[in-house]
Amino acid sequence: MSTNNGNGADAPNRFIGKSVKRVEDKRFTTGHGRYTDDIVLPHQTYAAFVRSQYAHAKIVSVNITTAKAMPGVVAIYTGAHVAEVNGVPCGWQVNFKNGTPMKEPKHPLLVTDKARHVGDAIAIVIARSKEEAEDAAQAVEVKYEELPCEIDAFKAAQPGAPLVHDDVPNNICYDWALGNPIDEVNAAMNSASHVTTLEFVNQRLIPNAIEPRCYNASYDRIHDHYTLYTSSQNPHVIRLLMCAFVLGIPEHKVRVVSPDVGGGFGSKIFHYTEEALLTWCSKHIGRPVKWTAERSESFLTDAHGRDHITKAEMGFDNDGKIVALRVKTYANLGAYLSTFGSCVPSYLHGTLMQGLYTTPKINIDVTAVFTHTTAVDAYRGAGRPEATYVLERLMDLAAHEMKVDPVELRFKNFIPPFDGVTQPGYQTQVALQYDSGNYHGVLEKGLQMLGYDDFRKAQKEAAHNGKLLGVGFSTYIEACGIAPSSVVGSLGARAGLFEFGQVRVQPTGKVTVFTGSHSHGQGHETTFAQVVADKLGISMDDVHIVHGDTGKIGFGMGTYGSRSLAVGGTAIVKSIEKIIEKGKKIAAHLLEASADDIDFANGNFTVKGTDKSIPFANIALTAYVPHKYPDDLEPGLDFSSFYDPANFTYPFGCHIAVVEVDKETGKVTLKRFIAVDDVGNIINPMIVEGQIHGGVAQGIGQALFEGAEYDNNGQLTNASYMDYCMPRADDFPMYETATQITPCPHNPLGVKGAGEAGAIGSTPAVVNAVLDALWSGGHEVKDIRMPLTSERVWRAMQN
């Protein structure tokens, strides 16, 4: 692969496109990662929380007298102590269909009036040790008056349901629609010769990052300055939200550091109440205070994902062309609005309803509802897996109902290939313009890998022998690289979504890069260094990537939505361009030529058409020792850039699952999983493959294993790894992966993003495959609720 090296010359890439081993893995695999919990400050104290045992209960009284007298206790605060402090904000305003703003009830740091979900924080206990804090927390006496609760989004939105917030009628945060006017969609639907209807639940998932959330806050009285260490995906955003919206402390008096972070999957984007509360406490007690979530607390208090109840209809004409799509979703927000809780089921979900198809009329209608459950927010894919699930389930089901091949049905409806350069982008019915795509290509490649014709023969034979084999398809698209600030601003985002990248060339020619992206497993220290090393013609060892510290990095919007390389990487490239441009001026002066006549390639500044040349490191030294130097040029070689993308990026792909279903028990065995993904240009194929693998594991996890189970009392009944089934390596076959490359036309690296693709594409492929297996045995089943446990599949076969 050859990419433009930023200077117009096509210098060979030494690192870009190669599976360079991850430089960060040495410290991770040898136990030398430094996570927030590893940080112990002088006079450190530890916090434990008193949390509600009930999903909905009036807090009658909180008695801290006994607890306060326990050994080691430093302080205890209850809701009354922080009643004057603001709650944590929501970062995205969605409006009701009638234009009024969504309901935004306060999300307090500690509750005073009532608890709204199991795990809602009632008091914080701070002690000299974690053990003492926990013991004292057990001794806090809370008197509750239990109230009726509702955990189901549809039921909660019905008149008479128990209210989560007394000032939110029917628990409805907002209702919202996108696409063509409903009358037009209804008319198109009525004209269809076949309508496929599907009602289903996209179940609630728990993110389960391996590192639990952890915060360590301290306050320096002398300098009136706070430091918060946090296991966050975006420290600058946390600082902004906490300072400006919650605590009202000046941002320049706060440093937020996210050191090594052990996975996030979205759940560490959000500004959590504990972050602000610990920061507040650190000043009140005058000592640093740390809290590390217990695993059972993670289950109850990390924002969850998905949880949609959906009815979807897809209309087809005689020829099998889609004529209309109508979707109604009830989205569960949990008890409070989390930072991006409002935009996930609306703008990150509704906007993907075009899928890869030319559907001319689309309407998606969402009612977002508060319930007595943990808050729901972005989880790997965030809205896009839910959209993909709607479309791809409908496609395989429609094909079955119309007795056509699901592959042919897709080919018939695909948007034709377009490169976004010579051909324009594709304008969808749901607000987006796709950048570039070749959707036929990924499906064709997937079918080749599968050996589709042979599979169908094998399936027939198996059915004949009493075995149930099935294949399921999913051809997905997603929008990532979030996003053009003006666009998201017009849609209600309360933040810009640019990225910052600074490239500091040291006098010796070594390079320090400060990025606003944050790596919590993605391997930025490797990928970004590959880009920088190639662009500057230096060794990767000469590049150091710094991230996750507001004290070092000018600004940052962080990592989520598969945005790091497309947005954060581009900000770095912009700075490199400035470095090279300035370097040319310095070189021109030294070589007595005009800057326009200087080429930069392979780490050398050369006068065009001559062998007069100066290496990069010499230019760097000259910039800092400017003895012989252009008059009109500042010394130094250090540039920052803010990059605001022109559009989202649109990775896409084709996932195919092959399963066998045990007739007697309903147990599903995944026999093969094929993933063909087009994520644009690829800097490090190994890292991309790793991201796809992880995402696919989570997507299959949703299909077959995972799911939060609330009982009618609002208790999370599987809040431990003994009960919540995380998939394990031996649950999977060896994945068969491949890539196709359709470069992104609007960023200089041509990259799209790979972080979420696996989780977005895979889920419906697996469910479709199980249904296909049942169909092959004559079981006419429309849907099985995820996760497809053995019992659910067995029951589906009994009817």
């Binding site: 059972s296 028990t665 995380m726 019992e791």
Partner: protein
């Protein structure tokens, strides 16, 4: 996830352990894979743990007077890989290798599993099927309890207070005996949703034992009658109806494996 404070004593002999148990609210610690999770959730709050995991007399597997004798503190992994077990009591190797995952097998012990009597534990069905006896020692000396008399209900056994299981004794099955353990695992923990152990002796006598489906493991040699009397457990991975169905499927699998 932080237990209540407790004292810890590492016992070197069984006598020392029994003496240590007699004062206060003490508990034996073996592999800790059932006890520690319960303590971390503060569901169990012993004031003292008496660690028996390094008492050498409680570890290891030997043949003695026509019996295989397994020390109570022997780990699942050691049982699964022991030659003597593979050769003469292969159903134990088969069953032990299906417990949990590698970490669980490396820590968990057969004695701990039997004493804990988890309704979904594998060892209870295995010891029932092979006519094992459980050897226990207390202040008043040693005694042997038949497996069929050991499991008395949900998490409860015939052990008396402060009695320690010291060994599991299994008569070596005669040549020609066929045995199998068939298990349908709970996908998260991999405990048994249904575990069915079947031992078929050369004379045709067939021992059948179930675990996972009711409050405690039980013998079901007359399977049809036994299953019709069971009150089946129910949880979000398997309803009572589904467990009942699986019990029949797994019984069939097991019987097919021994004929």
């Amino acid at each position: 996830m932080i237990p209540v404070a407790f004292d810890y004593q590492k016992a070197k002999t069984v006598d020392e352990a029994i003496a240590a148990l007699s004062n206060g609210n003490s508990k034996i610690l073996a592999g800790g894979h059932s006890l520690l999770p319960a303590m971390k959730l503060r569901m169990s709050q012993p004031s003292k743990l008496v660690d028996i995991s390094s008492i050498s007399a409680l570890k290891g597997i030997k043949e003695e007077d026509g019996e295989i004798v397994i020390g109570a503190a022997t780990t699942h992994a050691d049982i699964a890989s022991e030659k003597l077990i593979k050769n003469k009591l292969s159903i134990f190797a088969e069953g032990a290798s299906m417990i949990g995952d590698v970490q669980v097998r490396n820590h968990g012990t057969i004695g701990g599993s039997l004493a804990h009597a988890d309704p979904a534990g594998d060892w209870p069905a295995l010891v029932l099927a092979v006519d094992a006896t459980i050897e226990a020692q207390g202040k008043n000396g040693k005694r042997r309890i038949k497996a069929t008399e050991f499991f008395t209900g949900l998490f409860s056994t015939a052990l008396q207070e402060n009695e320690i299981i010291i060994a599991i004794r299994v008569p070596i099955p005669p040549e020609g005996t066929k045995a199998t353990y068939q298990k349908f695992s709970q996908p998260a923990s991999r405990f048994a949703i249904v575990g069915c152990a079947v031992v078929r002796f050369p004379d045709g006598k067939t021992n059948i034992a179930f675990t996972g489906i009711s409050d405690n493991a039980f013998r079901a040699d007359n399977a049809e009658a036994a299953l019709s009397a069971v009150i089946f457990l129910s949880d979000h991975y398997a309803s009572a109806e589904y467990r009942k169905h699986l019990a029949k499927v797994y019984l069939k699998k097991a019987l097919q494996a021994v004929v």
